[in-house]
């Protein structure tokens, strides 16, 4: 077929001008590589966030302070919202759906001294139910009991990172540590949960009983969330409604006042998180697409120069019988082949780059075949779009003028 022969001609021309070909493709290579790396980072982050939310525990409801919308007027002066220990107690006492309730008091950067040195980590003050709600096992020792929690015992459960910092590989259970100058006994070590996509260490903290936290650390800490588990997943919607009502009563909200808290289930949390990462992925891809566009303009630029440079060649081809459409097809194929080739090299760069990023930065990067297909299809489209104008310019040359061109 004629087109097949013209592909061969285009191929030869591409091979004969390696430097020009490489320069032409460079923009596409970088553009496609950037798109793939950016999308891989975004999707990796998304995947990890999803997994993290799944990791949170099963049948879980999370209450956070603050209204769902931050749009102004309804949030008057005195309504600076807080969750309190009483809220948690009221839910535990009144809810029929709640299986476990744990307020989470947190304080950043407590000073912990013990073992071989000292370390700063955040503290969580929770009830024993926290362990079952979050489905979080200890690798050594145990979690504190309800009794220890109620009486404000000075016991502490350590995250893996804290253990590593203070005790190395030694088992710290039974040892003493000093938390913000308060001596406490290490009773357990939690299993590792790894890193969040944005690089936060989820093992760099300690857990103490809620009452202990209230009594000893109180001043600078606040209740960040209340975690609740239900008996079955089917209970969740009803539980959310019920708990919302309990909290409104607890906060003394009038009927016309909006909630000053949010009650969300895992799905809603993951939707929110996904929304953020989707926006991030789209943004990254958009930025990377601009480089692809610039790459396309680069192709057009070099093809235009190439048409001028090869005016004589075009004249020769026309003189010996090439139709305008033959010349158009040849140049179009050249730019398409170059952009697809550039796209393929860009994919290689993207896949290599994202796995390198993944391994050196500890990010979960995911290249899916879909992205690769889209990237190559897109670069072919770039080749057609930006190759068409130069190709048409070549095809519309007058053979006599083209032959006379020096």
């Amino acid at each position: 077929m004629q087109t097949f022969r013209l592909v061969k001609v285009a191929g030869k021309s591409i091979i004969k001008n390696k430097m020009r070909t490489l320069l032409t493709m460079l923009g596409i290579i970088i553009g496609v590589g950037a798109v793939i790396i950016m999308v891989a980072i975004g999707e990796g982050a998304q995947g990890q966030i999803e997994q993290q939310i799944e990791n949170l525990g099963t049948n879980m409801i999370v209450i956070t302070p603050g209204a769902a919308t931050t749009s102004g007027a309804s949030q008057g002066f005195g309504s600076f919202s807080r969750l309190t220990g009483e809220d948690a107690i009221k839910i535990r006492n009144e809810s029929i759906y709640a299986a476990g309730v744990s307020p989470v008091m947190s304080s950043f950067f407590a000073q912990i001294v013990g073992g071989e040195g000292n370390h700063r980590a955040s503290i969580l003050g929770v009830t024993p139910e926290y362990q079952t709600i979050r489905n979080w096992n200890t690798t050594s020792g145990r979690f504190f009991t309800a009794q220890e929690e109620r009486t404000g015992k000075k016991v502490v459960v350590l995250g893996q990172t804290v253990v590593k910092q203070l005790f190395g590989t030694r088992d710290p259970v039974g040892e003493r540590v000093v938390v913000n100058r308060i001596p406490m006994e290490v009773i357990g070590v939690l299993e590792s949960k790894g890193q969040t996509p944005d690089g936060n260490d989820q093992d760099d903290f300690i857990i103490i009983p809620f009452t202990t936290a209230q009594n000893r650390i109180g001043g600078r800490s606040f209740i960040r969330q209340i975690l609740i588990s239900t008996y079955t997943p089917q209970d969740i919607p009803a539980a959310q409604e019920e708990i919302g009502a309990i909290l409104r009563e607890s906060h003394g909200l009038a009927e016309w006042e909006a909630d000053d808290f949010q009650v969300r289930n895992q799905e809603q949390l993951s939707e929110a998180a996904q929304g953020t990462t989707e926006v991030m992925t789209a943004l990254l891809a958009a930025i990377a697409s601009i480089s692809l566009l610039v790459g396309g303009i680069g192709i057009m630029n070099i093809m235009l120069v190439s048409v001028t440079e090869r005016t004589r060649e075009i004249g020769i081809r026309m003189a010996i019988g090439a139709r305008g459409s033959d010349v158009l097809t040849q140049f179009l194929i050249e730019s398409i082949v170059m952009s697809i080739l550039g796209g393929a090299l860009g994919v290689a760069l993207g896949v290599g780059g994202s796995s390198l990023l993944g391994s050196t930065m500890g990010w979960a990067t995911a290249v899916n075949p879909e992205t690769v297909m889209i990237a190559i299809a897109f670069s072919a489209a770039v080749g057609i779009f930006f190759g068409f104008y130069p190709a048409r310019k070549a095809a519309s040359l007058n053979p006599i003028d083209a032959l006379r061109f020096e």
Partner: protein, 262 residues
């Protein structure tokens, strides 16, 4: 001798170029025919319209008026695409400046017209190109690039390329203009041989010594034919001497000038 067919018939051809507001009448009513097997030299001073006429005969350009038949096809009425096909299948062009593709072997250059041959008469392109190169005496240079060949050899590749489609007509516009006298004679001898094999050839030259190889001379002046005569072609041997002698004389005159300029 068998009955000869007219390969081309040119009737009342005019060509007017517009240069800004002024009109240049490059051809002002040209009539002539070329029969199969002829070797015609078109002569005339620079600017007399030789190239303009060749471009029209070669299907590279349309006349402003008049009609032109090639193998009984009225070429001046064809579309651009059909004109391209005529150039491809019926005409072989040889240029003054060779016009070979750089970084492309002699064989690939020779093959090139077959790429655009929509009639698909010739199946094996490589074999046809090889045969064509052998015909011009370059069977042992097929893999050479143009920059590895002498001017005469490059022009012979161009002739092989013109012949590869078995055209009705070979056109050559000043084919020896860039060649030295020795290779000029070689190339002209080649044209003569090809003509003896039956190829119809029209070539443009302003050198009498080159025109002597032709069987017929058509002379143009100011876009009109002023002379159209048959002649007995000279032998190559005698001509070579004359050409060398004349070019030597020209060099003798030029050399002192060049020395002064230094």
């Amino acid at each position: 001798m068998s009955e000869k067919q007219a390969v081309i018939r040119v009737k009342g051809i005019r060509k007017t170029y517009l240069m800004g507001k002024t009109k240049v009448h490059a051809l002002q009513g040209v009539d002539f025919q070329v029969m199969q097997g002829e070797l015609v030299a078109i002569m005339g001073a620079s600017g007399s319209g030789k190239s303009t006429l060749m471009n029209i005969i070669g299907g590279l350009d349309y006349p402003s008026s008049g009609s032109y038949f090639l193998d009984d096809i009225e070429v001046n009425k064809l579309s651009k695409n059909d004109l391209a096909d005529i150039r491809n299948q019926k005409i072989g062009f040889v240029f003054q400046g060779f016009n070979l593709l750089a970084r492309t072997s002699a064989l690939e250059n020779t093959e090139l017209p077959l790429l655009y041959d929509r009639s698909k008469r010739i199946k094996n392109h490589k074999a046809a190109a090889q045969k064509s190169l052998e015909r011009v005496g370059l069977g042992n240079r097929v893999d050479h690039f143009p920059n590895e060949l002498s001017g005469g050899q490059q022009q012979r590749v161009a002739i092989a390329r013109a012949l590869v489609t078995n055209p009705s007509l070979v056109l050559a516009d000043e084919p020896t203009g860039n060649l030295d006298s020795k290779t000029t004679v070689e190339v002209m001898k080649l044209f003569q041989e090809l003509n003896e094999e039956g190829v119809t050839i029209i070539l443009v030259t302003h050198e009498d010594e080159v025109a002597r190889y032709a069987k017929r001379i058509v002379e143009l002046r100011d876009g009109k034919i002023i002379r159209d005569v048959e002649q007995t072609p000279d032998s190559a041997a005698r001509d070579l001497e004359e050409l060398l002698a004349r070019r030597a004389r020209e060099n003798d005159i030029e050399e002192p000038e060049a020395a002064e300029a230094d």
